[in-house]
Symmetry: C2
Subunit: 170 residues, 2 copies
C-alpha cells in the first residue's frame, strides 16, 4: 500500500490533480520508482471509494482536483506513526531463488550467486555514478542512499553465502 499512502501524503499538503501527483511522487523518490499515470487514476478512484479522498471539482485550468478527507488524514497519521513490521515486507525473490537452488541438489548454486553478484555490482556502479551527479533535494538523496545501502548488503550476503557453501562442501 505504498503508492496509496504516498499519494495520500502528497494530497495532505493541499488539493492535487492526477498528473501532478505522478510528477510530485516521482520528484520525491527520484527516478527510482516511476509511477504509471494510469495507476494514479485507478488509485484515486479506489481511495475515493474508501472515503480517503474527495473529488474537489475542477481548478481554474479545468483540471480535476482531489482533496483529502478527515478519514484520509487519520489514515495518513496512522501510517506515519506505525513502523513497518518485519512480517509485512514482500517476499524477496533472490532469497527464495537461492533457498530453492540450495535445497535442490542439481542446481548450480555457485553459478546463480556469481550471476547475481555481477548484476548487483553493475547496478552499484550505476548508483554511484548517479550519486555523484546528484543535484536534487533531500528526499531523493535519501532514497538513492537506501538503494545503495541495500545493494551493498546484498553483495555482502552473496559473499556470505559463497563462504558458507564452500565451508560446507569441505
Amino acid at each position: 500500500m505504498s503508492i496509496r499512502h504516498g499519494m495520500l501524503a502528497l494530497l495532505s499538503w493541499g488539493p492535487r490533480y492526477g498528473y501532478q501527483l505522478k510528477q510530485e511522487f516521482e520528484a520525491s523518490t527520484g527516478a527510482t520508482w516511476p509511477l504509471n499515470i494510469g495507476q494514479v487514476y485507478t488509485t484515486l478512484s479506489r481511495m475515493e471509494r474508501d472515503g480517503l479522498v474527495e473529488p474537489g471539482g475542477a481548478d481554474d485550468q479545468g483540471r480535476a482536483v482531489y482533496t483529502i478527507t478527515e478519514a484520509g488524514r487519520e489514515e495518513l497519521e496512522r501510517w506515519f506513526s506505525t513502523p513497518v513490521d518485519q512480517s509485512d515486507r514482500p517476499r524477496d525473490e533472490l532469497v527464495i531463488k537461492l533457498a530453492m537452488a540450495v535445497a535442490a541438489q542439481d542446481v548450480d548454486v555457485a553459478r546463480v550467486i556469481v550471476a547475481q553478484r555481477t548484476a548487483t555490482m553493475r547496478a552499484l556502479q550505476d548508483l554511484t555514478r548517479a550519486k555523484r551527479a546528484q543535484t536534487d533535494g533531500l528526499a531523493q538523496r535519501l532514497v538513492l542512499d537506501s538503494t545503495i545501502f541495500k545493494a551493498e548488503a546484498e553483495q555482502r550476503w552473496l559473499d556470505h553465502c559463497e563462504a558458507v557453501l564452500k565451508e560446507k562442501k569441505a
Copy 2:
C-alpha cells in the same frame, strides 16, 4: 512471481501434491515466509493454465499430484540463470514513507525514524535469538541471515538519515 517459481522449483524434483508443496516451501525458507495453503491451489491452477505444470492424477494415497512440464523446466532454468534486476524489486514502503515525510515539512521525520528504529531493533533481537536456536539446514540458515543483513542495513540507513537531517538543519 517468487511463489510461482519457488513451487516450480520444488516440482522439478518430482511430482508433488498441494499440501506437500506448502510444507516443503516453508521448510526451505524457514518460518520466514509462511505460505497460505489456499494460495498453493490457486497458483497450481494458474500454472496449469500457463502450461508450466500438469495434473498427474492421484498417487497411491489418493492425493492430487502435479508434474512439471517441459515448458515449466525451461521457465525454471530461465529463472535460475537470470539475475534479479534492480528495476523489478518491489517498492520499499519505509523508504517511500520517509521520502514523503521529508518532502512534507509538517511531518515530524525524526519521530518516524525513531519509531522505525525501535521496531527494527526489536526485530533484530528476535532474529539473533532465532539464529542461536537454529538447528535446521543450509537454506533456512541463509534465508535467516539475509533477513539479518537487511535489518542491519536498515538500521545503518536510519542512522544515516538522522545524521543527514541533523546536518541539514544546522
